[in-house]
């Protein structure tokens, strides 16, 4: 199992998992471990010759056993596809899978938070190009969520309102809106830390995947697909990104939380990346060389 070490200056946990150094690194397409097993070929992570959506325990987990879980979610058997290329109907199935895993992992004894995410693209550090996401069930509340939940609680105490509902309310004029329908909105937040950062959120107050109704799911799937298609149109190439779902933690702790998904593409232009350097890493202060209103207009126009 991993070793959790306490960072006394930042008051957060650092997870030490040395075996992850040996994880599979950029295998060729014919040796992809996330493809179905082809007849006569060595067995991959998925022994069957085809699948719809598959989830399995990560072979190189950061958390396992009584600490938590690390799962891999294979979106499709098609090696050369992507999340944004899936049909809205398929994405609705995937939402149900994410919900099932959230529900089940939340019940494990030591799990304090279930985090659904996707790393896409080599620029992000992805080592397997097959379209897939991951789920971490942490034995602690991760620091970003801890800060977010604390801010939401303070805002609720002070105003009696949901903080994120107020953030969405601030997008009424539409200048930072990328797309929206009756139930979901995608926008570049005024406080974005990445040039093409987008938040995707239900406009009605929902705490997490398990709080969405069927109409929410339909809209969520369509808006997610729409956003990812815009991303890939932006520079006419598959845009790398981190997709991070911020849902409420298990139990009563996050009762004021508003579910949303944050996307962080590292590109600032077609061929230039934003790197986290001195100010961001050393001081925790992001400096951004783009205005949310401008990048939102770019994405909206696609």
């Amino acid at each position: 199992m991993s070793e959790l070490r306490w960072h006394p200056l930042l008051e957060e946990w650092v997870t030490v998992a040395p075996w992850r150094q040996d994880r599979t690194y950029h295998p060729s397409a014919e040796h992809c471990p996330l493809c179905p097993t082809r007849p006569g070929q060595p067995e991959t992570e998925i022994p069957e010759p085809d699948y719809h959506i598959v989830v399995f325990e990560n072979r190189f987990p950061s958390y396992t056993g009584e600490q938590g879980r690390c799962e891999v979610v294979c979106y499709t058997p098609d090696h050369d596809s992507s999340l944004g290329e899936q049909s809205v109907d398929h994405i609705r199935d995937l939402i149900e899978v994410w919900r099932d895993r959230t529900n089940e992992l939340s019940r494990l004894p030591n799990v304090k938070y279930v985090f659904v995410f996707e790393n896409r693209g080599e620029e992000i550090g992805v080592t397997l190009s097959h379209p897939h996401g991951q789920i971490y069930a942490y034995p602690f509340l991760p620091p970003v969520l801890q800060r977010e939940l604390a801010a939401e609680s303070r805002h609720m105490r002070k105003t009696g309102r949901c903080l994120y509902c107020d953030v969405i309310d601030g997008e009424k004029d539409g200048v930072r809106t990328v797309l929206r329908d009756e139930r979901w909105i995608a926008f570049v937040p005024p406080f974005a830390r990445w040039p093409y950062e987008v938040h995707l959120a239900p406009t009605n107050h929902r705490g997490g995947l398990i709080d969405l109704d069927e109409e929410d799911d339909v809209s969520f799937a369509a808006c997610l697909k729409g956003l990812l298609q815009k991303y890939d149109q932006l520079f006419e190439k598959p845009l790398p990104y981190v997709m991070a779902m911020h849902q409420r933690p298990p139990g009563r702790g996050g009762r004021h939380h508003h579910f949303h998904i944050e996307f962080y593409p590292p590109n600032r232009t077609l061929d230039k990346l934003k790197y986290l350097a001195g100010s961001e890493l050393g001081a925790g202060a992001f400096v951004l060389d783009a205005r949310a209103e401008d990048t939102a207009a770019e994405l909206r126009a696609l």
Partner: protein, 69 residues
């Protein structure tokens, strides 16, 4: 979050936020047809790999396939 340890570096064994629960093999995913909050669009089939890790196939339910195809 619990009170941090006094030393500059602490091992997980001493400072895991909570240490309760069973070993991993005691809680393989439930074989139920759909997740607790599911809408019945997919069904679940749980398998176990040779090294003990679980694998869950989510398949389109026949009813959902009829409605959406």
């Amino acid at each position: 979050m619990r009170t941090p340890p006094s030393g500059p570096v602490a091992s997980r064994r001493d400072h895991l936020p909570q240490r309760v629960g069973k070993g991993r093999r005691d809680h393989l995913p439930r074989q139920a047809g759909k997740g607790g909050a599911g809408k019945g669009r997919v069904t679940k089939r749980v398998a176990q790999k040779a090294d003990g890790r679980y694998l869950i196939y989510f398949e389109k339910t026949p009813a959902a396939r009829r409605v959406t195809s």
